[in-house]
């Protein structure tokens, strides 16, 4: 059963790759305080989730971590270097697959390479892209245009696009929330498989407690006004996780615990 959280930080399981210290963010010329003094450390190969009500600052946190927007205060360090803008060693994925309809699946996947290193490098990366497509079960769809892919297939292609640059960390902002629940469960298992196979460090934003629990080693519970991390829950379910685990009492207990921490009024 979940116990009360300790006030000290546990040592990282692997080497620490991502460190946030005192990160705060105010929007609209200091009128809206979106984030207040967030501290967290991600370790190599770990899977963490952040859960919280709408508007509590989850996306803001992710944007700061990815270097899309600067924090107002605090320090973000990735692999020893401060983050001061978009970086090559960060892979990011959004709620929408955002594949570009005028490029084939393969061309979409090599896009980050094309942008960073030019057309020749993109061409050279095609084999790698094909291998990734096979990894996510999209072999044979290389030359298909995204318009012909289903929602789940498109999201898998966008996973490939994220992975092609071999980023040290994956930042995922509700990547599957546009999919129906059955497809989503399936995609989550795929995501776990891919992260494990590449030993990637992942950080997931989600609205769904079961999703957070089934995937993560650590779940950060955020609360709003201003956004802060109210609780850190370590999930010690065995790996690899399976969907069956979602019906075990242990899983139910963790979900129940987290649910009880999220005040319902926030969701009206």
């Amino acid at each position: 059963m979940p116990a009360a959280a300790a006030l000290t930080e546990t040592p990282p399981l692997g080497a620490p790759v991502y460190q946030l210290r005192n990160v705060g963010k105010t929007y609209a010329r200091n009128a809206i305080k979106a984030l207040d003094s967030v501290n967290l450390t991600l370790t190599q190969g770990s899977f963490s989730s952040v859960i919280g009500s709408s508007g509590c600052g989850k996306s803001t946190l992710l944007k700061i971590m990815s270097g899309l927007i600067p924090p107002s205060t605090g320090r973000v360090v990735l692999q020893g270097k401060p983050v001061t803008g978009p970086r090559r060693d960060i892979g990011m994925m959004f709620q929408q697959a955002t594949l570009f309809p005028w490029r084939t699946t393969l061309e979409n996947i090599v896009l980050p390479i094309e942008i960073r290193d030019g057309k020749a490098a993109a061409k050279a990366a095609r084999d790698k892209a094909r291998a990734l497509l096979e990894l996510v079960g999209l072999k044979g769809f290389e030359n298909t245009y995204p318009g012909e892919l289903s929602g789940g297939m498109a999201q898998r292609a966008s996973i490939c696009r994220m992975l092609i640059t071999e980023p040290a960390v994956l930042l995922l902002d509700e990547p599957f929330s546009a999919l129906d629940e059955l497809t989503r469960d399936f995609m989550n298992m795929e995501l776990q498989r891919i992260c494990t196979s590449r030993n990637a460090t992942a950080f997931l934003v989600t609205h769904s407690i079961p999703e957070a629990v089934i995937l993560s080693d650590v779940v950060y519970v955020m609360k709003p006004r201003p956004g802060h991390i109210a609780e850190v829950v370590e999930i010690d379910l065995p790996r690899p996780r399976t969907l069956d685990m979602m019906t075990t009492p242990k899983f139910g207990a963790i979900v129940e615990h987290i649910r009880s921490r999220l005040d319902k009024e926030a969701f009206i």
Partner: protein, 288 residues
């Protein structure tokens, strides 16, 4: 299972990595200054072209001549002399022309957008008519409606109608399948569906049509005056042009363009009031 809370809010000893997003110096220049700058560049170029005789004064007056004439016309208008009368006539034509275009455009738009017959059998002809040089119809309107403002109103309406038809029809098509199904489950008649759902939903695009039409209606009225007599602003421009009084032509056109802008702004304002629920988009003029 162990839980852990981070409350490590001890002040960071290392320096913050707070960085600033770059904003170009241009973004910090106030809008009015930028507009003024473009204006100044434009006037300078204009002045250079005329000053060094790259083009005859009869064809392109100097900015100074134009400014003098603008003041002259402005005075004439303000003191209620003959130009005010001419302006009034043109404004009446524009007003009634726009009204007529709205009436016809809206009706045709509903027929085209709501009925398969309209879309399949009427729309192709409307497109064909729109590609014709409408100027050629001016004598027909004069023959039917005479030299009074009626014939100019007709031409103005003729030019402004098509975009309104297209806007209305496209707007009616924009009703989503959910709303349609909802109205069907409520047992709404076709008429009720049209009035209570499709038409309000079409309003944003109707206004896009109205904005394009508002520009056309002005052109229509002036063209009508060029070709079909009358005592409006078009006649003033024609007289000035035939006398090679180019500064006057320019200043009259500038006044017309101010009025055109005013009408456009009025329609945009009406849109904001009437379609109050529409979210503002980055406005890019004509297409709103």
């Amino acid at each position: 299972m162990s839980l852990e809370r981070i409350a490590d809010s001890s002040p960071a000893t290392e320096e913050d990595t707070v960085w600033k997003e770059e904003t170009g110096w241009l973004d910090r220049v106030p809008r009015a200054a930028k507009m003024l700058f473009v204006f100044a560049v434009f006037i300078l170029l204009w002045d250079l072209v005329t000053r060094f005789g790259m083009v005859s004064r009869i064809i392109l007056p100097t900015p100074y001549e134009t400014l003098k004439d603008l003041i002259f016309v402005g005075k004439n208008l303000l003191t209620g002399q003959y130009m005010l009368g001419a302006l009034w006539i043109t404004l009446k034509e524009v007003f009634y022309g726009f009204l007529l275009a709205m009436l016809i455009g809206f009706t045709l738009g509903v027929i085209v957008g709501e009925t398969a017959f309209g879309e399949q059998a009427i729309m192709p002809y409307l497109v064909a008519i729109d590609t014709m040089p409408k100027v050629a119809f001016a004598p027909l309107f004069v023959a039917w409606l005479g030299f009074d403002i009626d014939s100019k109103v007709a031409l103005a309406a003729f030019i402004a109608t098509f975009p309104i038809v297209v806007g209305t029809a496209a707007g009616l098509h924009s009703a989503d399948v959910n709303s349609r199904n909802l109205f069907r489950t409520m047992g709404a008649s076709r008429w009720q569906t049209l009035i209570k759902m499709k038409l309000p939903m079409a309003l944003p695009q109707v206004f896009t049509g109205l904005k394009i039409g508002s520009v056309g209606v002005m052109a229509g009225a002036i063209t009508g005056e060029f070709l079909g007599g009358g005592k409006g602003f078009g006649e003033l421009i024609r007289t000035a042009a035939s006398q090679l009084n180019t500064p006057r032509v320019f200043s009259l056109i500038l006044y017309l363009s101010i009025i055109g802008l005013a009408i456009f702004t009025l329609v945009s304002f009406a849109q904001r009031r009437i379609v109050f629920w529409q979210k503002d988009r980055v406005s890019t003029g004509g297409e709103g």
